[in-house]
Every structure is written in structure tokens, then in C-alpha cells.
Amino acid sequence: MSVKLLTSKLLSIFLASALFWHFEAKASDEGHGGEKNFDISTMIFHHIGDAHEWHFADIGDTHLSISLPVILFSSDRGLETFSFSSLKAHDGHALVHQDYSIDHHGKIISTLPGREIFAFMPDAHAAHQEGAVKVYNISITKNIASLFLSVLILFAVFIPVAKGYSKRKGSAPKGIQSFFEPIVVFIRDEIALPNIGAKSDRYMPFLLTVFFFIWFNNLLGLIPGGANLTGNIAVTFSLAFITLLITVFSGNKDYWMHILWTPGIPMWLRPIMLPVELVGIISKPFSLMVRLFANITAGHVIILSLLGLTFIFKSIGVGVAATLFSTVMSLLELFVAILQAYVFTLLSAMYFGQATAEHEHDHADGHH
């Protein structure tokens, strides 16, 4: 059998089996009570939200999940570390450990009055207590564990690629290098050079990092049992914030003059243009943040809703149709994964290009 035929056969078997992966990993999420009405919004939030345990599947009555470390820091008790399994029993009910417990959403609460669990913002659901001791929740949650995993994957992929370049100096790439070289060259030649121009080498490390980070994390989120990291607005906020910092700190005189004193417009328009331009500095990375977050989260919600239809209707026919639709949507999401990484990188490169643009042009007021 030729290599082509064999590969196409293997690929078709692989794709056909993908229909069943969804079934196994998600089908076991049926209501724990059996007769209880299937609550689709809880199921969706459970899958796209963050949690203190990494829940893979439910096989019959066994809850397959890894309990992650809970790390709490408060000024009166210092650093407290314990496993999440001391707060949540195997059958799901809450336990009390060291004056902490969990609420029905799985969030950590304090059983002692006068202490407020504070992650980045105070808990919106809990009533604000005046003078409460702040307990900072810096636990390793599912998203953070996934972040570490994706960082390990990035290192495991790119350190050999870099080593390959130093080992095989001047000769053709081999192995994993040959897969990533066209992508890296694409980012340099189609994204960085046209938009940033001469200084693109300074920004290439960031652009490459952000592209592969977003792409790998999008893909990891699509695996059944994966964590929805790029659908976490704090993560996309951090990426967009770094883009903002780089843009602001590499802005040259031309850039700031264009913002504060946009050339070539009449005087009466200037009071309007100044706040618009200032807001524009913030709104561009803001749109980066929302675009990535909403695209990835919306994709996950669509796939989860389609799969949830099977459990709402409890029929085989709907099950087959829903699985087919969600497989098609998952294939689309694979495309969206790389597209969103590309768009984020491209727009970041465009902002850097605007910040570092050196150009001579004739202005109407000729102050250059």
C-alpha cells in the first residue's frame, strides 16, 4: 500500500473515531441524580469556567478529577496550603477544613465571620463586610494548571527547534524544525515585516510567543477534558495589556504627536480628536482582549449547547444529529483557534508598526 493511501486510511479512521470521543467524555456528565432535569446552563458554566479541581469525566458514579492545591494568604494566618479534596468530599458535598468551606458553585468561602476571600476582586456574591480580614486566594486552579501545562508544551516544542538551528547551522532543517520553520517565516514575512518594517526583529520574539501561546492554548481547550484558558478574560486581558505596554513604551515622537496633535485637521476639531485618540490607545488592546475571549468562549458554548441538546431531548436521533453538528463545529473551532492567534498577532504587529513608524510627510501646518 502506498504511503498516501495508508495515510488517508488512517486519517479517515481517526476522524471517524472523533465522533465517539465527544460521546465518551461529555456523555458521562448526565445529572448525578438520574431523575433530575438536566440543567444545561450549569453544565456549560462548569465546562467553560475555572475550578479548584480538574474534572475530566464521570464514569458511572466515579468522579474522575484531580484536586488541585488551594493556596490562601491572609495577614493574620499567613500562607495556608492544602488540597482541594479536604474541602470537597468524593460524593460532592462540602467539608470544612481550617475554617474554610465551599459554596454550591465550588467557590471557597470562610466559615469564620470577619474574613473575606479575595481573588482579584472581592466576591461579587458575598456581602461586603466592613473591616473584614482579606484572605487572598492564589490557588492553583484548573486554568493555572493548564497554563503551566501549555508552557511546558511550548518549551518542549521550541527548545529542540532552537537547538536544531544551532546544531545544523547553515544546513536544511530536519524534524520538528521543518514543521515550525514555515510558520515562523510566515509570521516574520507576512505579519512583522509588512507592518513594522525595519525594526521587526525587536518585536519578533513577542509576536512569535503570543502566536504560539494563543494557538496552543486554543487547541488545548478543544480537547475533551481540557481547560478553557484563552476563554478566561483575565488571561486575554494580560496578553492585551502586554501589547499595550509594548506599544506605549516603543512609541516614538511621531506616534505621540499624531495622538496629541493630529496633523492636518482644522483647529475646531482638535478638542474632539484628543479624547478620541486617547481613548483609542486603550480601546485597541481592549478589543484584542474581548475578541479573543468572546471567540473562544462562544465556540465552546456552541459545542456544549449542541451536545447538551442530546441530554435535553434524551433521544438517539437527536444524539446522532447533535454529535454530527458538534463535530462540524469543532472542526470550525480548530480553524478559529489558529485564526484568532493570527489576528491577535497581526493586530499587535500593526499597533507596534504605528508606534515605531518613521516617515517623512508633508503636513498641512508644516510643523515637522
Binding site: 478589543s287 475578541r291 475571549f293 468572546a294 462562544a298
Partner: protein, 84 residues
């Protein structure tokens, strides 16, 4: 009688959910129209000059992603108002 039906409806109607639903529908309409236009012009451009299809495709993807970004902004806002 119509008045009493109307009054009853006004009592049970959840305007926030209704607003979110109508909003999401309008967003989809806007995004669909916008990206449809882009797709149409891109395909026309490729038909006129097949050699430039790579560049046209690239520009099309970028423009579509930008419009989708705005559409998803609005979808997120609809979701937020539904949950407040």
C-alpha cells in the same frame, strides 16, 4: 379585554432576557451582512484577477476577523445584561 391581556404580559415579561435575545439577533444580522459583503467583494476580486487570490484572501480574513470582533463585543454585552 385586550388591556388585561396586555397588563398580564407586561407583568410576566422579562425585559432583560428579551432585550438580550433581540440584541443577539440584531448582532448576528449585522455581522452576517458585513462579512457577507466582504466575502462577496473578495470573491469578485479573485474572479477578476486570479493571480492576486492569495492577497485578497488574506485581506478578507483580516477584515472578517475585525468585524467578528465587534459582533462578539455586542454578544458579550447581551450576555452581561441578561445576567445582571
Amino acid at each position: 379585554m385586550l388591556n388585561s391581556i396586555f397588563a398580564l404580559l407586561m407583568e410576566v415579561a422579562r425585559f432583560d432576557v428579551m432585550g438580550a435575545g433581540i440584541g443577539a439577533g440584531l448582532v448576528t444580522l449585522g455581522a452576517g451582512l458585513g462579512i457577507g459583503k466582504i466575502g462577496g467583494s473578495a470573491v469578485e476580486g479573485i474572479a477578476r484577477q486570479p493571480e492576486a487570490s492569495g492577497k485578497i484572501q488574506g485581506a478578507m480574513i483580516v477584515a472578517a476577523a475585525l468585524i467578528e470582533g465587534v459582533a462578539l463585543f455586542a454578544a458579550v454585552i447581551c450576555f452581561l445584561i441578561m445576567n445582571k
